[in-house]
Symmetry: C2
Amino acid sequence: MARASIVGAGMTKFGVHEATLPELFAEAALPAMDDAGVEAGDIDAFYLGNAMGGQTENDTHLAPTLASHIGIAGVPCQRFEDACATSSNAFKHAVQDVESGLHDVVIVGGVERCTPETGLGTGEMTRIFASASHRQYEQPTGLTFPGVFALLTKRHMFEYGTTPEQLAAVAVKNHAHGAHNPRAHFGRDIDVSDVLDSPIIADPFHLMDCCPFSDGASAVIVVSDDIADEFDAPVDVTGVGHGTDIIPLSDKPDFPSTMSARRAAEQAYEQADITAADVDFAEVHDCFTGAEVMASEALGLFEDGEGGPAAAEGRTYIDGDMPINPSGGLKAKGHPIGATGTAQLVELVEQLRGDAGDRQIADVETGIAHNLGGDAGTTLVSVLEVRA
Amino acid sequence: MARASIVGAGMTKFGVHEATLPELFAEAALPAMDDAGVEAGDIDAFYLGNAMGGQTENDTHLAPTLASHIGIAGVPCQRFEDACATSSNAFKHAVQDVESGLHDVVIVGGVERCTPETGLGTGEMTRIFASASHRQYEQPTGLTFPGVFALLTKRHMFEYGTTPEQLAAVAVKNHAHGAHNPRAHFGRDIDVSDVLDSPIIADPFHLMDCCPFSDGASAVIVVSDDIADEFDAPVDVTGVGHGTDIIPLSDKPDFPSTMSARRAAEQAYEQADITAADVDFAEVHDCFTGAEVMASEALGLFEDGEGGPAAAEGRTYIDGDMPINPSGGLKAKGHPIGATGTAQLVELVEQLRGDAGDRQIADVETGIAHNLGGDAGTTLVSVLEVRA
């Protein structure tokens, strides 16, 4: 039996938006409601992910504000913040609360604006993003997120011989996928030399190894398993794992294994009664190319150390044996922080319904989403399946 | 049967602290764990309330950071933000999740620094607090929170004849209570003329009608009802209501009724199978004196329009017929935003255990906490009772 089902999904194009946060969120939430065929009055509760609205736009207490804007004022609602894993944690709580019988129909979504439309430039936004690193031990050193993931990835290279060319292959593949996603921030055919010739940001990452700052919103409608068959095209949620790890980085016994992801995957697979071998495709948190390699191993999709070679061999393309980030991932689709987790779920829903158009993966029944927060201190892994 | 039980409670003194957020939180969390007799290894999950850490200290992704600092790295944890109702919403989810059987022993807490120890003065902090008002419709008008509650209170005065002297009586009483609370930011004997002679902040509020900005932390240990008897002095959680209301203010059909509080109280009383007549005392969200008056009516403790006269008649003192804010409330105890909700629960626990010292209310069996967020867009009401 499913823990819950997703019966509606919507998202904006990721990129640069002039719209305010309420307007932007409505552009994802209302299509999700339409997709599910639910009216405002059908919705019992609202679970919001927004990571940085206070810092970027002096906008907090957003859950009831956004609820009011989409016509569901008065429902229980709350904002979750877990850095980049923000809306996946909101989703976890939504699944728990329909599973326990507390609610029947809930909306889960995320929204964020991270481009200069907020009035903040890349430097200031990088400083704000760095608020998710350790305030006392990491921020004073000047560590920002390219540096955090460069540290993890350098260790991976040392331990397994992962190469810059293998990392670049992740970017090439995700841009190729993004070119087929009309809602992607970027997406065009590039090659490995384009990545390796782009400026160094934090060794080993070149500019083209890094995801962009984006604006965007995404939402899904989650219902309890008992009523899922009343909707068109429900997709089952069979597992949601939530792993955390010690912070700061210097206290982690091991860098490239990203233990929070392994814990989350273990929980999610156990709940869904599957193993990694049952996974047909994955959306993973490729904030940097090295993060996708590490995620693919933490999820058990490849053996430790095989993530880089697998990317370079083309195995993670839509037509490969283990497609990863058919949406283009954070790298090409974009990364509006609080919207990223639920956007991964939107892609899973479209793929599992067979509605993914030019980027449709053949014969998929089981997809997973991997959404990481901070210095891998938080990871959520969700398992979605074609309804039994 | 209780929905859950609180078996441990701890809080720092509210006031001015030099400690970092992790250090400050530990000063509440570790005493709460000691009070419950639980070790780090006994704790299954962590629910954090922090409202403004990103804006005030560039510090986000705080749940795993604080978990690491108190020795529980690796447990599922997340940050909630609902303006001033932040940690009460975290508490709601903790109660739900032990009630559903997901967890057995969880820690819920809040922490915030709001004084110039953050490096921010009162003006900048007031602007940051105002992020919880509507970004597009309220902030551009210059509306900050003294103004928000002045609008609500002015309407209450118009409808019911509530007077400045009645409002001042709330401040006089809460300072008198705070004088008996060693953890209160303020607390000394003042009289009505002290309040009315203090400078006007936002008519009808004088400086002494307003709560202070404080630093502080608070935490409670929540366990499932089935294991509560294994602990010393459990206090039962019999109801937690969560009401929201339309935002912005201009869309509310009615100001002084604070509908989110009425919805939350109705839910909480129904869950606990009580009426307002069964309530022995209350901790309410007196960010401004007018807010306490409106809360006392929304909770049904007094008829609409009777909250002001009741305060002026002394009925809400510790030895009155309906004691309100024995802790001193936000007004005298202080208001470290994210810590306020769980601090109200700490006071309820101490009163219901008979451990409240000089501020102990006689013969109490049922206490409620009322924690409001933003422009009354969110309210949580919790019912705690002596264990049956």
